[in-house]
């Protein structure tokens, strides 16, 4: 079973549409039908709201307001609860992000091995502060706590691919290929 096809990267797992892996047959239908399909796949259960929002975000790359309202109506869940969930959990975004997403790990092991210097270097390289998106929408940069690759600290993830053993002197070059 593991031999079937080449190694899948994190990118394939997170963004089936983007990576070209077989997406559901009706990828590309109108917004509402896609949302309904997501709701159906979770049994229309309000307790599944987090998973539903994760699927919606995987599809749209963020959580559009109109579709949140639709979900609120369909599941009979107050919009305040959806909004509370969307703003409580860091995985969710209410605004679209850049084409390339850089997530720098600032977990303890990475911190101790110089992640803050790498952060400064990245900020200088793409000219925005962590948490933001460049004006040309090319890059979004955020810091996250712990990707679990502490043995190769410092680590960052760009578009789902891991780049390890970073160094504040060489990280700029690592980002060249995304420019």
């Amino acid at each position: 079973m593991s031999d079937a096809g080449s190694m899948r990267t994190i990118r394939d797992v997170l963004l089936p549409g983007r990576a070209g892996v077989a997406a559901p047959a009706s990828g590309g239908v109108s917004g509402e039908r896609a949302v309904q399909r997501i709701l159906e796949s979770h049994g229309r259960m309000a307790s599944q709201i987090i998973a539903i929002l994760q699927d919606l975000q995987a599809l749209r790359q963020y959580l559009p307001e109109a579709e949140l309202r639709l979900i609120s109506r369909e599941l009979d869940v107050p919009l305040t609860r959806l909004y509370a969930i969307a703003t409580f959990y860091k995985a969710f975004r209410l605004v679209p992000r850049g084409r390339h997403e850089i997530s720098l790990c600032t977990g303890t092991a990475c911190h101790v091995r110089g992640a803050m210097r790498v952060k400064d270097a990245i900020e200088r390289e793409i000219k925005i502060a962590a948490g933001g998106t460049t004006l040309d929408m090319r890059f979004s940069f955020e810091t996250i706590r712990c990707l679990g690759c502490c043995g190769q600290a410092p680590v960052m993830m760009v578009d789902g691919e891991l780049v390890s053993r970073l160094d504040h002197l060489t990280v700029g070059k690592a980002l060249e290929k995304y420019k």
Partner: protein, 594 residues
């Protein structure tokens, strides 16, 4: 070969592909390459083990593969340069089991990682997989299972250390319409990745444990709550669950026993607080992850107000081993005496993620009771680059930093607590002389402030206050009385917070004050950072006597604040200096002062 997330960051996916191609090209029919989970020696990734001899190759790159196939696989010859070089002896080590890093470990839980392909249940079955479950179901004695677990002294591996047998007993007796079992795979402690490696490398060991536990307490529905940041773990578990169902190990009438049980996977949304049991349950119920008071325990009223057993990944993975080996065998490993009560000792092994300033970073599994010194120096190889050891941080943000004088403390549930820290879930971060302990305290408070759910006043506002004071100190604006104030706030936050996030948040601050007070005082009184970390307190300047004018610093300076011609003494303009330290790193003549 290891294709766990960590080794993938060392290009192991491409090494795997290279092997497949090479084997196909050379038409070697009796050779196969298996993609396995974490082998534990992460510093030397990508790792490849050639069976049956168990030759270990380290730091393998895709370009090395043709040579490995041509020499080792076809002719049985070694590729010397890829063998592990033992710094103590200066010699290359051939076999996996002889590598000092592995030799001192007892890899009960992680050991099978290098032998199985997590995406193929047959590998797990071949190593006595689900045999424990079969025995349990055949015995028809759920209470017997609880008794076995209780006698073994198994205690929760997630950090709480609560005796698992007692937890299951209470859940079984509790009143409720339904019972639930949950696996907490929301491994949020930064620096810890034990659970990730178990889930990715041997998911069935966890699943088997959960099914056994569900049978013991009478639950028919189970959940594995995985952090959002672990997509490969989610995938490995999903595949494993599907295969287990196909084999009749999950679903209705498991193995013909009449017991029905199934597990679903829930992903976190990116919140450290959801590792706390009540917050996790709130998240499972489709709400924000706000903890609630545990005046009535979750074993009695947990998920949907029903009796719920929540255990950590590593705890579940220990269950099948205990069933197969028996409590008598298990109690021989570890410390203390559990014949009267499971609280009396720490039995079994514990997996630690040994990371930070240590030579051999990776996952280490040892019997409980081994000392910090043995783990960090004998297995970990000590601190690299000849630097001095300063502290080891254990227990994640709920734990504390312990100094060199306490390195001979045994690591188990109870010994570290007296010193102000805790074993926690197993994160062990080594720090050296270049680590500023005040900065470390600030780091943890900053982390906790971001992760606080914000519901209760002491945690939300108290962490803000702590961070402000720590920030002032690292910026050189510390005042007399700041340490006293930090301690006072810490006491208040710890006593009145709603949950353990706030309750244990002060630990990193209190332990660093306790053991590294001199560093705080240097920052506050003398406006100095002895470790050379806190930028506002650093001053970079060129030492004229050592400067050779080689221009190395000039070339790397991002702020263009260094002036000077070739072969002439350079000068740093402090007004433009951003204190990034690039010049200090680049200079080979020790001509930059900090």
């Amino acid at each position: 070969m290891c294709t766990d997330t960590g080794c993938r960051a060392c290009d192991s996916a491409n090494v795997y592909e290279a092997f497949k191609r090479e084997i196909a090209r050379e038409r070697l029919r009796r050779v196969d390459v298996k993609a396995t989970g974490c082998h534990g020696f992460c510093e030397k990734g990508a790792l490849v083990v050639i069976h049956p001899r168990t030759i270990l190759y380290t730091q393998v790159k895709p370009l090395d593969v043709p040579e490995i196939v041509a020499k080792t696989i076809k002719k049985g010859e070694l590729v010397e340069r890829l063998l592990y070089l033992d710094p103590a002896t200066g010699k290359r080590v051939e076999l996996e089991g002889e590598v000092p890093y592995y030799r001192r470990q007892m890899r009960l839980i992680l050991g099978n990682n290098s032998k199985i392909d997590p995406a193929d249940i047959r590998d797990y079955l071949a190593l006595d997989g689900y045999e424990a479950l079969r025995r349990v179901l055949e015995s028809r004695k759920p209470r017997g299972v609880i008794d076995t677990i209780r006698k073994s002294g198994l205690r929760g591996r997630g950090g709480g250390g609560f005796p698992t047998g007692i937890k299951w007993e209470t859940a079984r007796k509790a009143k409720g319409r339904k019972r639930f079992v949950i696996c907490n795979a929301d491994e949020g402690d930064p620096g810890a990745f034990m659970d990730r490696s178990i889930c990715e490398g041997n998911p069935h060991s966890v699943i088997e444990g959960i099914i056994i536990g569900a049978y013991a307490v009478g639950a028919h529905e189970g959940f594995i709550y995985v952090r959002n940041e672990y997509p490969l773990a989610v995938e490995a578990l999903t595949t494993a669950l599907a295969q287990a169902r196909e084999c009749g190990l999950l679903g209705s009438d498991i193995l013909g026993s009449g017991f029905s049980f199934d597990i679903s996977i829930s992903r976190g949304g990116g919140a450290f607080v959801c590792g706390e049991s009540t917050a996790l349950m709130a998240s499972l119920e489709g709400k924000p992850g706000e903890p609630r008071a545990k005046y009535v325990h979750t074993v009695k009223k947990g998920l949907w107000e029903q009796p719920t057993v929540l255990n950590n990944v590593e705890t579940w993975a220990n269950v099948p081993k205990i069933i197969l080996g028996g409590p008598a065998w298990y109690t021989k490993i570890g410390t203390g005496d559990v014949s009267g009560s499971p609280w009396g000792g720490s039995k079994g092994t514990k997996i630690f993620s040994l990371v930070g300033k240590v030579v051999n970073t990776g996952l280490v599994e040892v019997p409980m009771g081994m000392t910090l010194r043995e783990i960090i120096f004998d297995i970990g190889g000590g601190v690299p680059k000849g630097k001095r050891f300063k502290a080891v941080q254990t227990g994640g943000p709920s734990g504390g930093c312990l100094p060199e004088s306490l390195l001979d403390l045994p690591v188990d549930f109870d010994a570290l607590t007296g010193a102000g820290s805790m074993m926690g879930s197993g994160g062990m971060i080594v720090m050296d002389e270049d680590t500023c302990m005040v900065d470390v305290a600030k780091y943890f408070i900053d982390f906790l402030k971001d992760e606080s759910c914000g519901k209760c006043l002491p945690c939300r506002e108290g962490l803000r206050a702590l961070l402000e004071i720590l920030s002032r100190i690292v910026e050189g604006r510390g005042k007399k009385g700041d340490i006293r104030l930090l301690e006072e706030i810490s006491e208040g936050v710890a006593a009145t917070s709603l949950c353990a996030l706030g309750g244990s948040a002060p630990n990193p601050v209190l332990t660093t004050i306790r053991y590294f007070r001199d560093e705080y005082e240097a920052h506050i009184r003398r406006k100095q950072c002895p470790a050379g970390v806190c930028k506002p307190l650093l001053h970079f300047s060129v030492i004229p006597e050592h400067c050779t004018g080689c221009r190395a610093c000039f070339k790397v300076c991002p702020a263009s604040c260094i002036t000077g011609k070739a072969k002439e003494i350079h000068v740093i303009d402090e007004t433009k200096c951003i204190r990034c330290g690039a010049c200090f790193d680049a200079c080979r003549f020790e001509a930059i002062a900090r």
